[in-house]
Symmetry: C2
Subunit: 548 residues, 2 copies
Amino acid sequence: MTKSALQIARAAYQPKLPKALVAGDVKVVEGAATQSVADQKAIQALFPNTYGMPIITFESGEAVTLPAINVGVILSGGQAPGGHNVISGLFDGIKKLNADSKLYGFILGPGGLVDHNYMELTADIINEYRNTGGFDIIGSGRTKLEEESQFEKGREIIQQLGIKALVIIGGDDSNTNACVLAEYYASKKYGIQVIGCPKTIDGDLKNEMIETSFGFDTACKTYSEVIGNIQRDCNSARKYWHFIKLMGRSASHIALECALQVQPNICIVSEEVEAKDMSLDDVVTYIAQIVADRAARGHNFGTVLIPEGLVEFIPAMKRLIAELNDFLAANAEEFSHIKRSHQRDYIVSKLSPENSAIYASLPESVARQLTLDRDPHGNVQVSLIDTEKLLSEMVATKLAIWKKEGKFVGKFAAQHHFFGYEGRCAAPSNFDADYCYSLGYTASMLIANGKTGYMSSVRNTTAPAAEWIAGGVPITMMMNMERRHGELKPVIQKALVKLEGAPFKALVAQRDRWAIETDYVYPGPIQYFGPTEVCDQPTKTLQLEQAK
Amino acid sequence: MTKSALQIARAAYQPKLPKALVAGDVKVVEGAATQSVADQKAIQALFPNTYGMPIITFESGEAVTLPAINVGVILSGGQAPGGHNVISGLFDGIKKLNADSKLYGFILGPGGLVDHNYMELTADIINEYRNTGGFDIIGSGRTKLEEESQFEKGREIIQQLGIKALVIIGGDDSNTNACVLAEYYASKKYGIQVIGCPKTIDGDLKNEMIETSFGFDTACKTYSEVIGNIQRDCNSARKYWHFIKLMGRSASHIALECALQVQPNICIVSEEVEAKDMSLDDVVTYIAQIVADRAARGHNFGTVLIPEGLVEFIPAMKRLIAELNDFLAANAEEFSHIKRSHQRDYIVSKLSPENSAIYASLPESVARQLTLDRDPHGNVQVSLIDTEKLLSEMVATKLAIWKKEGKFVGKFAAQHHFFGYEGRCAAPSNFDADYCYSLGYTASMLIANGKTGYMSSVRNTTAPAAEWIAGGVPITMMMNMERRHGELKPVIQKALVKLEGAPFKALVAQRDRWAIETDYVYPGPIQYFGPTEVCDQPTKTLQLEQAK
């Protein structure tokens, strides 16, 4: 591996730990029994062995040597900065307990467990990856652990390698599956523990006990760096509106956090759009009005942040897509004989009046995409829609009409950006480096203390790392029953942006001013070596949420 | 202005100066008379007053107080990191000579001079912008100073403000115009000096005396940061080919520098494509072959860097576009009556066989763009082509054929990126902060010593800043005669990537290995406060070019 100068310098960084973990062993403090956030009876029935366990916090213990333990680790789903530090914290934790402990990594995600594809992670390997971004140490994958046959295939290799516990690093779905697996192994009395770790740049895996998912900090700071650069360009050239789409499957946490960091002219929040039952035209009008207001002041430039999942939060668009899915499925044969150039008119003529009008209003490229690019189940692929282009084209159309009516007096030219892969594998910020290492180290303590069905938890994260509170939260505590693919399933409640939450309120309090005045902030690149106020601040979201 | 923590911390940075400039005044050392790089007689005839002047270097002088001078400054063309430091260096330079000196900024580029749109840049204003990115202190613009009427309008405001010298911060064209203006004012004996400063992220304004243009360092490092992050993602998820287009009007310096920093699987260099007379299909085949070779080893992922100007360097594409321009101009009326769905077949039937075949091979979206989106002169707008998508679509088509023939055994899925605005206004790296400040300070010394028609020059830039050599280079020395819009004009020779140069050779020496092995480097974000090997390295291009 050829290393950059920063990688070499950064390898020497020793992540900070909560002081309870520094000694080595810990005292386990158990709270009262817990219950799930909703649907308690149903969840309890599904998880008889792992339901109701207490919240655990660790206090300083004494350095002890325990028997050696073998542990397996899996990276599940999309990359997030800091995954390597979770693994190195876990490694250091089990090695501190006993130098003969071993860590096995399953290759390319949960599939590696099922397929018995693994490697031992030795000190030499771990040292190559400390404080680096990416999941390339063992790779990640999206295989879902849901079937008993997978659990049993996993058991085979786990027992073969003498593994005591499995750590699954993933998002809400992966942690749900970790809990199902923990319950299964507990019910079978296999003596195999399963521990989860909260990973996702999307920021939607959080609750009372999990303050933030790892990677959110670094990813948002990286996006904010480049958005800040674009804003400085925007404010220098003064001739473009930049439409910037930000990754985040469904929740708008990333767009909101970036907005709080960079103070753009406009930030759309999907959860608000849904709550207000806004139509696509409402969103377009909202943007166009700000463009027109700025133009009236001679400012024909600006920035718009757009969450990736927006289209699926617009109720009217959801209805259009649902009808399109049904219609195209029922009329596939007839549709396939319609000439390409007539397809749009054909669809317009067939849909219900409300959906027909929306479909007719879409730019040609989007309209075509909605009928052509369907997934293997015949469904429209909403995620392929270039929402940033869709909005800017519709804003341009509206402004052209307003221009004729004398309601818009400026120029409108747009540039488009989409940021996702640019930040998911950035080298972790000091916060994520410390937080991830602590999560991994905490997982080792949960394992040493015989816990299963827990998620590694590190709280009080806006304080200095020494004051962080390490422990474990029963995964069942975060669950409720939700309908997925037509079936009621126990799942970890996804944390969308709360409209009554402090971060969104902070946006609302300032956005009208940001819209008209140009008050861009330029956060610049993540710094690792400078003054603490530059290097060690958590996200604005976390600061606002924890400031009680 | 709301400031980020980094902005506040960075404001305190004192850029380093060559030691000759530290004392305040300088000793001027004049070299021998110079001549232009080519077309000496023609250039001399056009620039009788500013031709043949000596190269100047500054040596340490004593701190002296000179009479106060008023100076005007203009930011011309696209943004580049460090422009604000050129201005603050210039400001500090003239203030050190005399505290009553004044600096005026012309607003939104050269147009500000012509329209008498200006502001005084006081210490309070300057201090807000030290070590920041962007050109927002006075804005930039693309008005070209070419007409005598503009020169005279400029003279009016210059004389009104008592301005002794004008500093034009710009690229090759702006510096050419600075020299024409210097010559004009000299011929009229107005006593107005004009000094140029070498700005452009594109890196194409360099020669024997100008080692690098400012902004190239920071922009390339910012692009390399995000490309590195994408590569880490690529190497973790192992399922996408990322096609990454990089800004740079025509030269491929940015793509080449980024390639040397991140070691991608593929980097296309336009200058090589042209020199080898490669067709679009040759470029596509080159990429597809590497995709197939990696797939044979089970690696269905990779990265491709593409310079923005590529299409215009493919000789066959240039011929196609030329014929399209002529054909569409001559047949505009007939073409306008062709149904959209028949336009492609119509064009294919009308072009010469060679161009027809190429046109027919283009993906539909590009083919349509080439006939629809024309500029006000009726010309095809090559710059609107999404080259990264064009290439990936054609690679996909080729691989599908190879798959049927058994020559490709893998999967191919692509993601697309274009980086430009993400880096042009980044806060300057330590290198650019120092280099720009030194260029501005040097300009003040050229002014104090009565020079005109010079470009501010700082050399020996791979050494520590104290050892840099400051001085001035006659702009005429860099000129030759080139045909522009049908007319022979004196212009600064544009520096394209030299195929016999050290940076390109370094790529060639390693690219076959990078193609097959995955040896990505992850440079990470620009650091300002860490160890010198992390914070203070110049670009690979500069290091390789200066290592003699």
